[in-house]
Symmetry: C2
Subunit: 439 residues, 2 copies
């Protein structure tokens, strides 16, 4: 599965991509869509390299061999390429790796000579959603999150009997998914009042959720399931995902059909899709505790047991309004790992298609909140503040139970191992604005 | 609100549109998308008139004045027109009415002279989805359904405390929405087994749900709610909707996040969108029982109280495999009315946007199952068979608790009043195929 594009010592002629702390070394090469900030240019597909964006439209014009591999991406659209699957991704990855490599070659020389037309600094780029997202599904794979939150909603029954058998999921809202940098007003909603009647008011328990998002590549036809091998092959790549949640609205509305307005006002993802190839060195065994039920056969395979999981470190950072006003950087509030997820991405996709539901290129599957086993590893404020009962202190002395207006929440993710070059996801940042006045 | 296009005695030169039992008199004029059956033509937008389809692409080429009103519809796409809103719909409705009218006029003469190029028989047309559906939301406005089903899932707690305050809804799956004529295999899924472990098997409790679907026209910007007047103005029109449901899968998977694989394998809608203008003569008062909570202010308006509801008669018909084999027509199994819905379409949309969630042209809102108050008015088999405990007889002597392979379920809808011409929705038919074999 690993090849020379995963060599930890490989370097790029784009020298900033060789910095130890970059999220985007030549081993990563994630896809996003961008235009020059402030321009009215059409959106283009690009690849992150160091602190630059490689413009695939310009690249296609420069290099006819690569243009063939790009297909419809040259027109600024990623979904067509996503539909092609693994072989097309690998071919393009190899071509990009060669052209960006510090190792001398005709291709690398050609690209390097035209660097000025090919590269756009990321801080001069305005990012768009990386692809057209038809349907968005959110799962619930964080068992520590499900247990902690379950205790708050159902003290005597935290983990329901289906949890260890079914990869629990529900449909989310596509239209309100935005890219890192998204800002949105505090939502209004119905919440429980003092008496029987609810109150319609701005949410007072606004929260984030630390998640990963997995994008679907090749589709399955309606009625046709995906076995575990097909599901693994149909995964395109991953982003960070913040499933903003209004907990007071959720508590009042969610029975019997699940979360709705508590979550569909905004969902933020990071702009870069890290491909399954870039994640390959960080695959890990999927181990089900012997005391737990083993997955049913349609969710099981030898490959999944050997390397179905992915070790992705995850962090939540917050920069409050006060911190910004005082010139202070964001502070980290928690950290966890996707290695703790109860189901693997291939299991989520195989389950999703198991009834014949058709998945399409660009469809997005959220992982659910990723919390670690420790109390300070909660992937949401609901967990960190024990349901809002225990304010916790930020490093600058401010405290939080839930989010305050002006808070910017930044998710970060990265993969590290002794045998591979560190790769990262880039920031997934979103800012809560004050509620809008209502007539 | 009513004008000469609603006159009950208006007739068309398309004489089949004057038949007493047609769903599509000149007062209706619903939009759909079609191509000639068996052709590889691009899909075109059409309007149903009697048993014919008026081809708007051909019409635009014939009549430049109408071409201006059609805009992007001439290219076979309805969403752009949906975004324009009520004034554009009314202008086009008036132009279509004049051109199709039996009243002599230059326009009517011109169209009539070219009838052969403008009209395609519906039985020679293959229908597509009427528009691109970005997001699909399903509500739960059938209080009789919610009460009966609630008793089955929660005998001591059928109607939850939020039901009479919140228009309960959840997000559905867009990719698996198909148009009337859809056939799909019986889905597999996890269902409760004899012991603790579930079983992965074809669903044994496959059901339909009798619903209406409402399409969104003009969008709201992210973060910007719609008040009741704006919500009413943002409705485009309605179809019939069958929310097929695997009850055994649903019972096992639905807690705590709601229905997922139990419903996302297929959803069938009727091909024609009946516009809000065609429904105008059938608007009815929205009356909340004095013993019930009155709607919160954001869900209330004088207009909604006066005419927020719509009186639409609804029916379910079934044609079994045996009936088809013996040349028997479908038999009616139940009837109900959308006038019994607990919330109006404008309330659903105002609630959906109340947190700032952005709705887009072509988004679809299901009404939830529409059952009448009587036991034989259930809009699903779950209700008619008392949760599968009481088989009921079809007219030909067959019995059903849930659907059998080969059953074709046909939803029908129509509006009738003493003061207006009857209009209908056309059939919403779907067929259950046997489960596919699994390795």
């Amino acid at each position: 599965m690993l090849d020379h594009t995963h060599a930890p010592d490989a370097q790029s002629w784009v020298s900033c991509a060789n910095a130890a702390d970059t999220d985007f070394p030549i081993q990563n090469l994630p896809f996003g869509r961008f235009r020059r900030a402030g321009s009215h240019d059409a959106v283009r597909v690009g690849v992150a390299i160091g602190d630059q964006v490689l413009d695939l439209h310009a690249l296609g014009q420069l290099d006819p061999q690569v243009a063939v591999l790009l297909g419809s991406m040259a027109q600024g659209e990623l979904n067509g390429f996503m539909a092609q699957g693994r072989a097309a991704r690998i071919a393009l990855r190899h071509a990009l790796f060669e052209g960006l490599s510090a190792q001398p070659s005709g291709t690398a020389s050609l690209w390097r000579a035209r660097a000025e037309s090919l590269l756009v600094p990321q801080d001069e780029a305005e990012m768009a959603l990386p692809c057209r997202i038809g349907d968005y599904t959110d799962f619930y794979t964080g068992i520590h999150h499900a247990t902690t939150v379950g205790k708050l909603f159902r003290p005597d029954n935290p983990l329901l009997p289906n949890y260890k058998w079914v990869p629990i999921g529900y449909h989310g809202r596509s239209s309100s998914i935005g890219v890192s940098g998204q800002a949105f007003p505090r939502p209004w909603g119905q919440v429980k009042g003092e008496g029987d009647a609810p109150v319609f008011a701005p949410s007072r328990r606004l929260d984030y959720e630390l998640e990963l998002g997995f994008f679907v590549g090749p589709p399955n036809a309606p009625g046709m399931p995906l076995d575990m091998a097909q599901a693994e092959a149909s995964l395109f790549g991953a982003t960070l995902l913040n499933d903003w949640s209004a907990r007071d609205v959720q508590a009042w509305e969610y029975q019997p059909l699940g979360p709705f307005l508590a979550k569909n006002f905004s969902t933020t993802i990071s702009p870069w899709i890290v491909t399954m190839e870039a994640l390959a060195p960080f695959r890990a065994p999927f181990v089900r505790d012997a005391a737990d039920p083993q997955p049913l056969p349609y969710l099981d395979s030898a490959t999944n047991r050997e390397r179905g999981a992915i070790a992705i470190g995850l962090e939540v950072w917050i920069q409050t309004h006060q911190m910004r006003a005082q010139g202070q950087s964001a502070v980290r509030v928690s950290a966890s790992s996707f290695a703790d997820a109860y189901w693997t991405p291939a299991q989520l996709l195989a389950h999703h298609a198991s009834n014949g539901c058709n998945l399409q290129p660009g469809d997005l599957m959220g992982s659910g909140t990723q919390s670690g086993p420790a109390a300070n590893q909660g992937g949401s404020l609901l967990e960190l503040s024990q349901g809002g009962k225990a304010p916790f202190a930020l490093e600058n002395g401010e405290t939080r139970t839930f989010l305050q207006d002006g808070d910017c929440v930044i998710l970060r993710g990265f993969c590290e191992s002794a045998a591979a070059r560190r790769i990262g996801f880039g920031d997934c940042a979103g800012t809560l604005l004050p509620a809008m006045a209502r007539a």
